[in-house]
Amino acid sequence: MTQATTAIPHAEALARLASGATPTLRKSGLSRELLLERYHPDHAPAAAATLQIGANAGERCHPTLAELLQANALIDGFDLAGAEQLSTDVLVIGGGGAGAAAALTAASHGADVIMACKLRLGDSNTVMAEGGIQAALGRDDSPQRHFEDTLRGGHYRADPLLVAQLASDAPDAIRWLIELGMHFDVTDAATDGGTLRYKQAGGCTQPRILSYRDYTGLEMMRVLRETVELDPAIRLLNRCPAVELLSHDDGSCAGAVLFDLEYQRFVVVSARSVILATGGCGRLHLQGFPTSNHYGATADGLVLAYRLGAKLRDLDSFQYHPTGIAFPSRLAGGLISEAARSCGAWLINGLGERFIDELAPRDVVTAAILRECADGRGIERDGRIGVFLDTPRLARQWPEGIEHHLPALAHLAAKCGIDPATEPMLVYPTLHYQNGGVVIDGEGRSTVPGLLCAGEVSGGIHGRNRLMGNALLDIIAFGRRAGQRAAEDIGKRPLRRGDIEHVYSWQRTLVQSGLPRQARAPRLYPGPGHYPLHRNERSLA
């Protein structure tokens, strides 16, 4: 973590804040571009590497990710001997919202589906994404505005076709979720079925975040999980991480090799199509950053797709959410929603100054906070550094506002042992989202035939910065698209046992390029990696 060796002690900063003087907004002295270039983690020297092999050879990639993308496979051919053999029309890898949407849609279009989850179905970032989901429903809003906001928010680096689909799919995605039994907050429920409640998100020209209380993602995921578990066409395999994809002679995808942790054995799943919905990579803790991500976010899908030859994109672009919890350490990296800032909470440094427009785009606010900390104006508490989110001022200006309108914040503060009305929270940017990913077309197809992607593992939808509420939309919109495509491809794709020929050619490339063959990926789980993937408990580290 690029933290300063010096910072202002918490007590001192607290006393300064409590003095009551109205903080002034310090002039930045840097343009937004320069601020990002100098302080955003994506631009740090430690964030730059170049891929040497694979479909993106010669392109920029985060070094931690590059190490995984260019690693050797976890398995060899002999691991497949005696493995349990399964076959299905569609194999969905990943147990979050995108995987569930894909599996349900494929099943409803007549496909037999196997859904493989590394942990349990539902253990994912989806369940943690409580802010809401975007859909342009308001009278003054339109899919066009949603499209434009998203494109602009992503610094014009997104694929416009994908963004257009995202925006125009949104209303039907909401309808689909309601049909499955998901709740959304409404206003004027008494008249004509009411209207969905819209919340404002940073970077949007209209309020269009739909939500369910403070736990939209929980509500979404519990409904999706129940629907999947009750669907007779979907066979659910929990605790079965995918360790490698299978390929046909023509290089297309033929299924995947799973490792069943409960029974300690490999499972070979032959499939006509594979949908990767493995999510992001926050648990790689790029550059030492804390993360808001789920335990399972270890970039597995990127690694598997890349080894099979899929083209990726924007591998050097990540979203660091400005307001992660910095203290206490047990909650470090946990997210404080943007809502606090949009309600008027300021960010204050150790000198008692405001230093940025709190509602500037996420990447800009993040860079500004990191600048304060790097320049010694951060605040240190028990070894944790950050800046204040000035909730006491908000509470004074807006009595009961926190309790009634920001209950999630109040709940979180209570967990931190803090009364937000009297004590500010210490915040620090947290690794939140993988902007890039596998290149897909409008139906979720990667550049490898038979391999589709949905959700955070895919790239191009959000450009180089994602707006709040577009992630939950992305997983449903593109999960459904990928599921439908895979189901419709049943007649066109063969169901034959594949092999891991691509692994052997990858290993040849590793040797030819002088890359180490000892490093193995995917990571599957954070931590030291000493789990028994092989009977002889060969260490994977």
Binding site: L119, V127, A136, R139, I174, G181, G193, S329, P526
Partner: protein, 217 residues
């Protein structure tokens, strides 16, 4: 260090700092954790279910490891995710027909009327939900009130595990919540927007490249 405390997790002695959660203490060590872990502190995924016994206490309570602070001498056993071997399935059509909810509820969850009022579900719930009351309301036909009881449920399945009558209370709650949304939620703005799209309106103009100010170029 005076802030260091010892805690025993699944038979392994771990050192933790005051203020650490049980889950943090659990992650210290050279074994990779591959189950019963998820959102890492947010308390929404229900993966880190554990039995916790505090030093000097008889009670062994069910908790979420990410939301429970480690204490000196605490003993913790993690619990696997419980899924009953047999569950009766229901389809979306079952939750959409509001006139038949009571019948569907009875068909899918016949055990719900067998509640023996042991309160084990209430004690097992790490979120403090009044599970038993929810089941009582559901059995009486007060379906909306029952659904609301389970509003903040994270589906950890601890009440399902704890229930000696195999009622699966959290799934009853979710059934009712889903039924209510699927049957009654018909927001006017969404209906209008879907209709506009059906009529071919509001197609997106891909060529309209927005500017930094949010206006079209």
């Amino acid at each position: 260090m005076s802030n260091t405390l010892r805690i025993s997790i699944d038979g392994k002695e771990k050192e933790a700092q005051a203020g650490d959660s049980i889950l943090q203490a659990h992650l210290k060590g050279d074994e990779t954790v591959t189950a019963n872990i998820g959102c890492m502190g947010q308390g929404v995924c229900g993966a880190c279910r554990c039995l916790v016994r505090k030093e000097g206490e008889r009670e062994t309570a069910t908790r979420l490891a990410c939301e429970t602070l480690a204490e000196e001498g605490m003993q913790v056993s993690f619990m696997d995710y419980y899924q009953p071997a047999r569950v009766s399935r229901y389809g979306l059509e079952d939750i959409r027909d509001g006139w038949e909810w009571m019948k569907h509820l009875r068909d899918v969850f016949p055990e719900a009327s067998n509640c023996r009022h042991c309160s084990g579900c209430d004690r097992a719930c790490p979120k403090g939900i009044t599970v038993q009351e929810g089941i009582a309301l559901a059995s009486r036909g007060e379906l909306q009130a029952a659904a609301e009881v389970f509003d903040a449920c994270i589906m950890c399945n601890l009440c399902t595990l704890a229930c000696p009558e195999n009622i699966r209370p959290n799934h009853v709650g979710l059934f009712l919540r889903r039924a209510h949304a699927a049957q009654t939620l018909r927001p006017g703005d969404l209906l209008r927007r879907l209709d506009q799209q059906r009529r071919g309106e509001l197609a997106i103009d891909l060529s309209a490249v927005p500017t930094a100010q949010g206006e079209r170029a």
